[in-house]
Symmetry: D2
Subunit: 223 residues, 4 copies
């Protein structure tokens, strides 16, 4: 039957997804995932990963890692540490945390070595292709101008999504494409899958929703 | 009787102070602190703060925070989140994680608001004075060229330490001065206190020591 | 008779102030300065400084320098190089080019050594005070939210200007205060001087004006 | 007859290649280029590009550009400005001035639009491939640990050079490969060409040489 769709919920630094709330939000994700059979990944703030990973069975990802290892790197986030604290993957190069080219490469390399999956965020087709050459598990195309806009990328700019899927398939067929920016409803997810992605990355649509659980159920309903 | 000396142990991203090892290292710190009455602060990697803070009674500090609050700041470390995960303070502007001037100011401001103490690391007397104007609890002068050198700043460059103490006293008398770089022995701590600091910041001297607990006992013995 | 008011015109990367246009714009500044007796400083893009400095007699400043010297610093802008290309000063830490605390300190130090004057841009009173401790010739308070807004800081937030003047006078009486953000008219300059500054920093109000020379004459008319 | 070999001389921020010395150094490059028929590109500090480009007929490149255009980008270096000041190309992502992935892409895009050629510096084969997907004119592989070492990359790590050439040919056959790090002699250039590159990038080997002109003649002698 193939890979199940994937919904990645980024808690950003929203109060609604921080500390005790992070655990609660991740439990909503877990409940909807169990209930629907759709893969949902919780991405809490980095200091919350441990307590969240101890509390749920769905995958918990880090919002960022630095491409450095053990040593004199005070204040940096290592793949090894995230792994030992329960993360099973990480975002990299999110539009709110852009990285040097060399650090994306070393970040993906250290993620692989530690057994973390990597989702590299990108802003256009050309950058998506470049990121895909590093063979992360996922690239996530998110046009920055649509993030938080409420206008889903799948409607506002379907070509950037299908263009990314096509270009990645050609250069790195093992890399799956996600899309994000403006996603909040089940129809946005459906449209994203239509365009050839394996899922979506979203944040406020769930975390800032009045009823996050209902928002999650709405997201998965059309799958 | 006045303030007790303070020893700040930075675990950096050393394997010896990561994950389960972070908890173990923090327990050594706790034991020596209890035994000696000297204040010891454990500074594990950011993702380890929660599990360390749950395991020990001594203060646990973050290695870094970003000067941002709740919102669209994926991958950033907020004071509020560190606080809710058990930190009672934070390093800021460590030589391995230098910050923009504006972010040091907003970082200290958000630390205060969240109830975190701040130790701002600096590289020379002029920068120490500038940092002190923000009224953090501590500034820590660490000449970058001596970090990890094995040559204690208190011996190699006592003037930078006493100069910092004097200059800070004049401009911001409520701010305490620490020093770091090359500290590994009890005599280095004693020398640092002689020069007017209230304590030291160190890393490899404890965390990479063959016997970290013995290294800690040696540090406090002359106090 | 005391110091004359100072108007600093930042050409940013506007096309209207680039290449040949930079020379033309600087000549407008020169003409109005000669005519009015008001000091006007032209701040073109860094690659244009040489040709502008060869063409006018008013001071030409760099938009930025890095706090590094001779050596392996490809792509960096040194004070020595700017000086040898005709600059007589530099902006530092502009809101569009924020710097590390340590680099502001070393930048001011290298500017002094090379004989460049420094204007350090800041975003609030606390940061202004910290920057002033480095004793640059000028600090320029510019609330980021007002830059390019058309609402002059002298009207929108007079307290941040007078607060900066007062705080700087106390801690570093030799440092002069400028203000910027939203400045476009003679009355804004007059208001800025009333609040205790020695002048203003502006950009679009002149460079993007239909008639830059007229805009400059309007700025100086009430002085 | 095919493309002539290319020697790119990076003046870094060396005093020997700054200001008036930049013009002199570029004239040496020009003389040796004219005499030998080998293409030599001079890469002075950014503020020196205009005066150097006015003085020589060989191509003059910028050490860096930012991937931004006209607007509110104080202190940034735009492709348009470099072009109007006489540059015909630019380095991007030099190991001493690493860039965000997204900024490399937009930098190359703006270089093309302004008519500048781009040499993107990289640190390993994977990063070289990623950079090559953006279709700059050149990628330049320079293992950071060999820069300034005196040990030529063509000897110390020939596989990284030939591996880059092979991988780039496969993914972006229009992109030429240069190599750098430790290059100082004619035999290093010959070895680089043997490995499939079209030339070399070097700095101290020429600029810090006692006799730069002699060093340049030595570089081209075996071609």
């Amino acid at each position: 039957m193939g890979i199940k769709p994937l919904i990645v919920v980024n808690f950003k630094t929203y109060t609604e997804g921080m500390g005790e709330n992070a655990v609660k939000m991740a439990k909503y994700c877990e409940e909807v995932s169990m209930d629907s059979g759709v893969n949902i990944i919780a991405v809490p703030q980095i200091p919350d990963v441990y307590r969240v990973a101890c509390s749920v069975k769905i995958p918990v990802y880090s919002q960022h890692i630095d491409g450095v290892g053990a040593g004199s790197f005070t204040g940096h986030i290592t793949a090894d540490c995230m792994k030992s604290d329960g993360a099973s993957g990480t975002l990299l190069n999110h539009s709110e945390r852009r990285l040097l080219l060399a650090d994306i490469e070393s970040g993906i390399r250290s993620a692989k070595k530690s057994g973390l999956k990597a989702i590299v965020c990108t802003n256009n087709v050309a950058v998506t292709v470049a990121a895909a050459t590093f063979a992360p598990e996922f690239v996530a195309i998110e046009p920055p101008e649509l993030i938080g806009s409420g206008i889903p990328v799948s409607k506002a700019d379907p070509d950037i999504v299908s263009g990314s899927v096509k270009a990645v398939k050609k250069i790195a067929p093992g890399v799956e494409v996600l899309c994000g920016a403006g996603i909040s409803k089940g129809e946005d997810v459906a449209a994203a899958l239509e365009l050839g992605t394996v899922g979506v990355l979203l944040a406020s649509g769930v975390v800032k929703a009045k009823d996050p659980k209902a928002a999650l159920f709405d997201l998965v309903k059309s799958i």
